[in-house]
C-alpha cells in the first residue's frame, strides 16, 4: 500500500477527483480513446476483420432495412382520438353527440385496446432501437478486439523472432567453447547413449536403490525405498520423481570425457 501524509489543513475534493481520474486513465493504459475506437469502427471492417465472418456494412444494412420498412412505425391513440377532426364544428358536434353514441355501444374498451396497441408499438420500436444499439456496440467491441488480436500477433511474432535469434546465438557460442583436459568437465545432459542405458541401466538402478536404502536406514524409509518401481511409486508421485529415478546422473568419474551433446544441432 502506498504511504501518504496529509500535509495541510485543507483538502480539495475536486483535485482529488482529478487525480483519481488520472490514475484510472493510467491504469487502463488506453491506446485508443473512445472517439478513436468509434472512428475505427466506422472504417471498412475488412481492414480488421475477416470479411467472411462479419459483414462490414452490417450497421448500414440494418439501418436501411429499418428505414425502408413500409409500415407506419406507430400511431397515437388517446381517449379523444376517435372524436378528433380538423374542423372545429365537427369536433364540437361529435362531442355533443358522444353521450348518444354511447347509448348504442361502449367505445371505451375499443379505445383502451387501441391505446394499449399504440403503447405496444412504441415498446417494439424502442426494443428495435436497442437492437440497433446492441449491434452497434457489438461491431465496436469486435473492432476493439480485432485490434488487440492484431497487436498481440505482432508482439508474438516479435518475441518469436527474438527467441529464434537467441537460440542461434547460444548455439554459436557453444560451438566456440573448447574442452581442455584438467578443466572442470561440462555438465552432461541426463540422457546417455542407448547401449549404456540397456547394459548398465539395470545395474545402476540396483546400485541406486541400495544406496537409497542405506541412506534411509530402516523403518519407514526402508519401506518406501523397497516399494520402488514395483509399487509404481515413481509414476504415482508424479512424472518428476519417476523421471528422476529412471534417468540417474552418473558420477563424474564414470562419464566419458566427451564434448557436450549436440544432437540437436
Amino acid at each position: 500500500m502506498s504511504d501518504f501524509s496529509v500535509r495541510s489543513d485543507n483538502v480539495d475534493v475536486e483535485q482529488i477527483m482529478r487525480q483519481i481520474r488520472t490514475r484510472i486513465r493510467e491504469k487502463r493504459g488506453v491506446d485508443y480513446t473512445e472517439e478513436e475506437i468509434r472512428e475505427l469502427a466506422n472504417v471498412k471492417l475488412e481492414k480488421f476483420l475477416d470479411p467472411r465472418g462479419v459483414r462490414s456494412d452490417l450497421l448500414q444494412q440494418y439501418r436501411q432495412v429499418r428505414e425502408s420498412a413500409e409500415t407506419a412505425r406507430n400511431y397515437r391513440f388517446e381517449d379523444t382520438t376517435l372524436y378528433e377532426s380538423s374542423r372545429a364544428p365537427v369536433r364540437w358536434l361529435r362531442r355533443l353527440l358522444r353521450p348518444i353514441l354511447k347509448l348504442f355501444f361502449n367505445p371505451n374498451p375499443l379505445i383502451e385496446a387501441l391505446h394499449i396497441q399504440s403503447r405496444l408499438n412504441e415498446s417494439y420500436n424502442r426494443s428495435e432501437a436497442l437492437s440497433y444499439e446492441l449491434i452497434h456496440n457489438l461491431v465496436l467491441e469486435l473492432t476493439r478486439a480485432s485490434i488487440e488480436v492484431k497487436n498481440l500477433k505482432m508482439r508474438l511474432e516479435s518475441i518469436a523472432s527474438r527467441l529464434d535469434f537467441d537460440e542461434r546465438r547460444a548455439r554459436a557460442l557453444e560451438g566456440v567453447v573448447q574442452y581442455r583436459p584438467g578443466a572442470v568437465p561440462p555438465l552432461q545432459p541426463p540422457t546417455g547413449s542407448p547401449s549404456q542405458t540397456d547394459t548398465d541401466g539395470n545395474e545402476r538402478r540396483t546400485r541406486r536403490r541400495r544406496r537409497r536404502g542405506r541412506r534411509h536406514g530402516g523403518g519407514a524409509g526402508g519401506a518406501h525405498g523397497e516399494a520402488g518401481p514395483a509399487t509404481g511409486g515413481g509414476a504415482g508421485t508424479g512424472s518428476g520423481q519417476g523421471a528422476r529415478d529412471a534417468a540417474p546422473q552418473a558420477p563424474a568419474s564414470e562419464r566419458p570425457p566427451s564434448a557436450p551433446d549436440r544432437s540437436d544441432s
Binding site: F4, D12, V13, I24
Partner: protein, 460 residues
C-alpha cells in the same frame, strides 16, 4: 407573526422527505411565531386515501388541521396523463388534468386557506408539484412562500408551474442546484429566494461501540441509510460493491439501514439491518467509516448532512448534481460516476485515515456553518422580514379557455433536457458559501490517496 404551513401529508410517523422537512420547519418556527399546519387526511402518498380524521389535532405541540382528499389517485390514469405531458406535445388543459390526477385534490383545503389568508402573515407551501401548492400559490400569491423540494424530473418543466415560480412571494430552496434548475426552467431570478435547506436533530453524543455490540459488527464498514430501492441507485451500489469486495477481500463491509423495496443481494459483506430508530441510526453512522449515497435524484440529502454533522465523509453518486455540488462545496466527500471511480474513491476513504478524518472535519464545519438549526431559523426569519418590506409581484393569469386547449406545449422531457445541469460550484449569493480551496497547498500527494495501480492492496 402568524404562519401557515401547508403540506400534502403530515404526522409524526410520516418520514417522506418533504413531509419531514415541513414538520421540522413547523416545529422550529413555532419557537418564533404562531404556526398552524394545514394538510390532508392522507397517509399514503401513492393513493392519497383518507386515513386520518378530519379536524384539528396537535402534533408535537403544533395544531394540525386536516381536510379530506376528494378522490384517490388512479395510477393508470395518472400514468397515461404523465406520459402525455412528459412525452408528447400537449395543451395546458392536459397539464391541469395531470395535476388533478396527481392529487391530493382537496378543494376544501384550498378554500379554507384562501378564506383565512388574512389571519396569516405568510403561508409556507411545501412541494411545488402537488395540487395544493399550485392552487394556493395562485390564490394567495401575495403571502405564498414556496419550498419547492424539486428534483431534476420532468415535472419541474411542466409549463403551468412557470407562473407559480415567478408569481409567489418568495422561494426557499434546498440547494444551489435546485435554484439553478428552477431559474433555468422558469426564469424567476427576480423573485426573492434563498438557499436554506434543513437542519437535523443530531444527538450531542453517540455510542458507536453500543451499535457494534448490539449488531455484532466487528469489521469496519461503509453505511447506506434510506429506502433500499432501485430508484435510489441501490442496484448500481450493490453491483459496484460486489466488484469492489472481490478486488479488496479485506476491505470495508457495507451496512444498509432502511426498508427494502428491492432484493438485497446475499453477500457475506453486505448486512441489511432493516429500519432502525434514531438512536441506533446515529450510533451506526458514528460507527461507520463513511456514508454512501448512490441516489441519482435528490433535492437535498438529509442523511448526508447528518453524516457530516457526525464528522463522517460521504461517497456520493456524481450523477446527482445536488450531491456532487454538496461534496465539492463542503470539501467533505468524494463522488463517482462509474465503477472505477467508485473503487478508487472508496479505497481512498477506506485506507487513508488522515484524508478520511480531514473530510469528516470539513463536513462537521460545513454542517455547523450552513445547516445548524439556528442558521436555518435565522434564514427563514430574515426572509420573512425582507418580504414584509417588499411588494408582492403579480401572478400571471391562466390563458383563456381556447388557449388552454391549444396543443402547442412541448413535452416536459424536452424542456428539461434544455435546462442546464451540473453542480453549482460558485457561491450562490455573494459568497455566502465559502468554498475552501486548497489552492497550491494540496492536502496530500496525489498518489497517496489512491490504491496501488496493480494487484490487490491491503487496507490499513
Amino acid at each position: 407573526m402568524n404562519l401557515a404551513v401547508v403540506v400534502q401529508r403530515y404526522g409524526a410517523d410520516i418520514n417522506g422527505g418533504a413531509e419531514l422537512h415541513a414538520r421540522y420547519i413547523a416545529e422550529r418556527l413555532a419557537r418564533h411565531a404562531s404556526v398552524e399546519v394545514i394538510t390532508t387526511c392522507a397517509r399514503d402518498y401513492v393513493t392519497w386515501r383518507n386515513e386520518r380524521p378530519v379536524g384539528v389535532e396537535p402534533v408535537n405541540g403544533i395544531p394540525v388541521r386536516r381536510f379530506p382528499v376528494a378522490h384517490e389517485r388512479d395510477p393508470d390514469d395518472f400514468g397515461r396523463r404523465s406520459h402525455r405531458v412528459f412525452e408528447q406535445t400537449h395543451s395546458i388543459a392536459d397539464e391541469l388534468r395531470w395535476l388533478e390526477s396527481e392529487g391530493p385534490a382537496s378543494s376544501e383545503l384550498v378554500n379554507y386557506v384562501a378564506a383565512s389568508a388574512d389571519r396569516f402573515d405568510f403561508i409556507l407551501l411545501f412541494s411545488y408539484r402537488y395540487y395544493h401548492a399550485w392552487h394556493l400559490a395562485r390564490r394567495v400569491a401575495a403571502k405564498a412562500v414556496l419550498v419547492p423540494t424539486a428534483e431534476r424530473d420532468p415535472a419541474v418543466a411542466v409549463s403551468i408551474f412557470g407562473p407559480v415560480f415567478r408569481g409567489v412571494r418568495g422561494l426557499m430552496y434546498n440547494s444551489p442546484e435546485e435554484r439553478a434548475m428552477i431559474q433555468g426552467a422558469a426564469r424567476n431570478a427576480s423573485v426573492p429566494g434563498v438557499v436554506v435547506g434543513i437542519g437535523s436533530d443530531v444527538p450531542e453524543r453517540t455510542d458507536p461501540a453500543r451499535f457494534r455490540r448490539k449488531f455484532r459488527m466487528e469489521r469496519p464498514f461503509a453505511i447506506y441509510i434510506g429506502r433500499i430501492d432501485e430508484n435510489k441507485g441501490c442496484g448500481e451500489l450493490f453491483s459496484h460493491f460486489r466488484r469492489y469486495a472481490a478486488t479488496f477481500p479485506r476491505g470495508l463491509d457495507l451496512v444498509l439501514i432502511g426498508s427494502a423495496i428491492m432484493d438485497v443481494p446475499k453477500h457475506p459483506r453486505i448486512h441489511h439491518l432493516g429500519f432502525l430508530d434514531d438512536d441506533d441510526k446515529f450510533d451506526a453512522l458514528a460507527a461507520s467509516d463513511l456514508l454512501v449515497m448512490p441516489s441519482y435524484y435528490e433535492s437535498l440529502s438529509m442523511v448526508a448532512l447528518e453524516a457530516w454533522a457526525l464528522g463522517r465523509p460521504v461517497l456520493a453518486n456524481g450523477a446527482c448534481d445536488v450531491l456532487k455540488g454538496q461534496c465539492i462545496r463542503s470539501n467533505a466527500g468524494l463522488y463517482y460516476e462509474r465503477y472505477e471511480e467508485f473503487a478508487q474513491a472508496l479505497y481512498a476513504l477506506e485506507s487513508n485515515g488522515p484524508l478520511n478524518a480531514r473530510l469528516g472535519r470539513n463536513g462537521r464545519e460545513y454542517f455547523a456553518r450552513h445547516y445548524a438549526w439556528p442558521v436555518i431559523e435565522r434564514k427563514y426569519l430574515d426572509m420573512f422580514a425582507a418580504l414584509k418590506r417588499g411588494a408582492p409581484a403579480a401572478m400571471e393569469p391562466l390563458p383563456g379557455w381556447m388557449a388552454r386547449r391549444r396543443r402547442d406545449v412541448p413535452p416536459a422531457n424536452e424542456v428539461l433536457a434544455s435546462i442546464p445541469s451540473g453542480a453549482a460550484i460558485l457561491p450562490p449569493e455573494g459568497g455566502s458559501h465559502e468554498i475552501e480551496r486548497a489552492g497550491g497547498a494540496l492536502a496530500a500527494r496525489a498518489d497517496a490517496w489512491l490504491p496501488p495501480s496493480g494487484g490487490r492492496a491491503k487496507p490499513a
